[in-house]
């Protein structure tokens, strides 16, 4: 689960990580009130939206006067924000963060993630902040420093020293101390809140030698939300695709994509492999949809409903491997779902596994128009014939 920058900065404050003074604004009136309270000009107006590349897309505006600030708020709230991650139609912005402008002399990078290979949290630090970590890693990997944290002992200040004293031209001793304290607090935040990512980029050093989290990014481990109820309340549903939200209600795993072949599969791995197969035949999947290893009739029905709501879908491929759940049961589920709606696109069904003959017979004798595929190759061919 992703948090907004303003939410992440609120949490930073709670955990003792300094951030610039700022206020959230949802309207022009809010913005006026905010600017009265915050010292400035200058101010920075930042779109609060889940999309990377915000700065380049015009979602972060530096304002040198009241007028510039109002105009910035106005333009961000009224037009959809287009970045490399949003697609051409862009994304509606509902709120902006207005911050007091600060003069930053040096930009550092600081983040914490879980390192999968060593099964440990790792703190990543670089003296060349501001650009994204992939860029830094590519251009100058020697500038990316890592400290792995032993989970039994947790954070120790030597981790911080190992990182902070590598900044290059050393900042003043008090600044180094502040950097190390930010690191310790970031570790505490990361583990207390079950984060999967906590990133400060840039971590700025001001002319006066003060350390400030200029930007903030926090992702929470979805598996831990059952014990992070407060984080769950921060989930901004407006940022998600409405079909993804709907799928979540039925425990279906749905991700919208840009192609036109709707896909429904039981199991995540098989779903990915099915999407890959569609690509191989020269088409593009419209979605990822995993109805689970033990899908019920109802889940299949809801899954079909969600796929059909995507107007780009020109054909649907249902690929089910019946293991413990038998193919005849699954076929009945598909049938029930198909009968309830008027499906205008070709429906290709591929069943395999336990009781497969019975399952296929149910579909073939249903009087409805299914294309029943014997195996994956045939399923792909049928899709190709319908669409490509």
């Amino acid at each position: 689960m992703r948090l907004h920058e303003y939410q992440a900065k609120d949490l930073f404050k709670k955990f003792g990580i300094p951030v610039p003074d700022g206020k959230l604004a949802k309207s022009k009136d809010d913005a006026e009130a905010a600017i009265k309270i915050l010292s400035g000009p200058p101010w920075v107006v930042k779109a609060q939206v889940h999309a990377g590349g915000r700065g380049k897309g015009g979602g972060v505006i530096f304002a040198r006067s009241h007028e510039e600030a109002y105009n910035a708020v106005n333009s961000i709230l009224s037009d959809p924000l287009v970045t490399k991650q949003t697609g051409k139609e862009g994304k509606k912005v509902y709120q902006v963060l207005i911050e007091q402008g600060v003069e930053i002399e040096k930009e550092l990078y600081l983040a914490m993630i879980i390192d999968r290979a060593s099964a440990r949290p790792v703190m990543i630090f670089s003296r060349s902040g501001g650009m994204n970590i992939e860029e830094i890693s590519e251009k100058s990997p020697e500038l990316v420093l890592k400290e792995y944290i032993d989970s039994a002992v947790g954070w120790s200040h030597y981790h911080g020293r190992n990182l902070a004293y590598m900044v290059g031209s050393l900042p003043a001793p008090d600044t180094i101390k502040e950097i190390i304290s930010v690191m310790a607090n970031l570790y505490r935040l990361f583990t207390d809140l079950d984060c999967s990512l906590a990133e400060i980029n840039p971590l700025g050093i001001t002319k006066e030698g003060k350390v400030l989290a200029v930007d903030a990014k926090i992702n929470i481990d979805d598996n831990a939300l059952f014990r992070q109820k407060e984080m769950l309340e921060l989930d901004d549903k407006r940022e998600k695709d409405h079909l993804e939200i709907k799928a979540g209600k039925y425990n279906l795993n749905y991700i919208r994509m840009t192609g036109n072949i709707g896909v429904m599969v039981n199991g995540a791995g098989l779903a990915m492999a099915t999407m890959d197969l569609i690509k191989i035949i020269g088409a593009e999947p419209a979605n990822f949809l995993d109805v689970g290893g033990s899908a019920s009739e109802e889940m299949i029905e809801k899954g079909l409903e969600i796929i059909l709501e995507d107007k780009n879908v020109k054909a649907i491929l249902i690929n089910i491997f019946g293991g413990i759940l038998r193919c005849d049961v699954l076929a009945r589920g598909v049938l029930a779902a198909a009968r309830k709606r008027d499906i205008k696109v070709p429906l290709i069904v591929r069943l395999e596994g336990t009781n497969v003959e019975e399952g296929r017979k149910i579909l073939e004798n249903s009087g409805l128009e299914f294309f029943v595929a014997g195996d994956m190759v045939e399923a792909a061919e049928l899709v190709k014939k319908q669409v490509v």
């Binding site: 099964a119 039994a152 791995g269 492999a273 197969l277 413990i324 336990t354």
Partner: protein
């Protein structure tokens, strides 16, 4: 032959009285698995499908001499169940549970460093040595005893591939689902090492997916001295970045963990990669046709 589990394995099921546990214990018993005990705290003394239930794994170990555990405990308590099994001296722990917080698994992996046990999963279908025993939730009927080892991060995708192998007459020595989470107990390399030593395994099918670097590590290990034929398959060539594709571990993050990089690693190490799921068996037959 087989690795890790066989007809001598004595299994204890944690979470035996839950809905999942009760359903799958029946399936395992039907397959011939020796389920010697079950554990649900507070329900010691009961029986499920004729299997005696204990309050703790320690009791199950001392009373029934169990050596393999299969965990069906819900996510908030599953890490604790793994720790309990490891501390009771269980040698092979299979954790089926999906949805364990990653930081819980960080602690578990630290605890296991000096324990003599192998953790399979979590978030996995389990392990089966066809014809001998199955510890997990995979459908037993699709498997057939033989000489191909299977290691996979997925569930139904593995069933699909195993079924294709079986239909083509290619039996399996042991099939292991290592799990779809970011942190899992054992890797491809861990099991490749075992298959290397197993005279009953003549080739390996390795089923990977996007996220992490276990496939890259496997490619390197195979290149440096795994002397049996390997066919790899990688799911997720069309997966978008920064999206969790069902499995918690199946995510391309910060440009890392892409299918194309994994395929390149395998091919660079001289390992055949089947790119089309529909034609995987053809590739297996071409490479190890005489096997099975």
């Amino acid at each position: 032959m087989s690795i890790l589990v066989d007809e001598r394995s004595r299994v204890v099921v944690s979470g035996i009285t839950g809905r999942e546990g009760t359903f799958h214990i029946r399936q395992m018993l039907e397959y011939g698995t020796v389920i010697a005990a079950g554990v649900t705290p507070g329900k010691g003394g009961q029986k499920v499908e004729g299997v005696p239930v204990f309050n703790t794994i320690r009791e199950a170990v001392s009373n029934e001499n169990v050596n393999v555990s299969c965990i069906f405990v819900p996510p908030p308590f599953a890490a604790d169940a793994i720790l309990e099994a490891a501390s009771a001296g269980i040698s092979i722990i299979v954790c089926i549970t999906e949805g364990i917080p990653t930081l819980d698994m960080v602690k578990v992996m630290h605890f296991l460093i000096d324990k003599k046990c192998t953790l399979i999963g979590p978030n996995c279908p389990g392990i089966i040595s066809p014809g001998k025993t199955k510890v997990g939730i995979m459908p037993g009927s699709i498997h057939k005893p033989g000489q191909i080892g299977v290691i996979s991060r997925s569930g139904t995708l593995t069933y699909e591939i195993v079924y294709q192998l079986t239909k083509a007459g290619l039996g399996q020595s042991t099939c292991i689902g290592i799990g779809g989470d970011p942190i899992i107990g054992t890797s491809f390399v861990d099991h490749l090492k075992r298959f290397k030593e197993d005279p009953g395994t003549e080739g390996v099918v390795l089923i990977g997916e996007i996220g992490g670097s276990l496939e890259e590590e496997a490619a390197e290990y195979i290149r440096d001295g795994f002397d049996k034929p390997v066919i790899a398959f990688i799911a997720g060539q069309t997966a978008p970045q920064e999206k969790r594709m069902g499995h918690a571990g199946a995510i391309i993050s910060g440009g890392m963990g892409k299918a194309e990089d994994k395929i390149r690693a395998f091919e660079g190490a001289g390992i055949k990669v089947a790119k089309d799921l529909g034609k995987l068996v053809v590739t297996v037959l071409e490479t190890m046709g005489k096997v099975g």
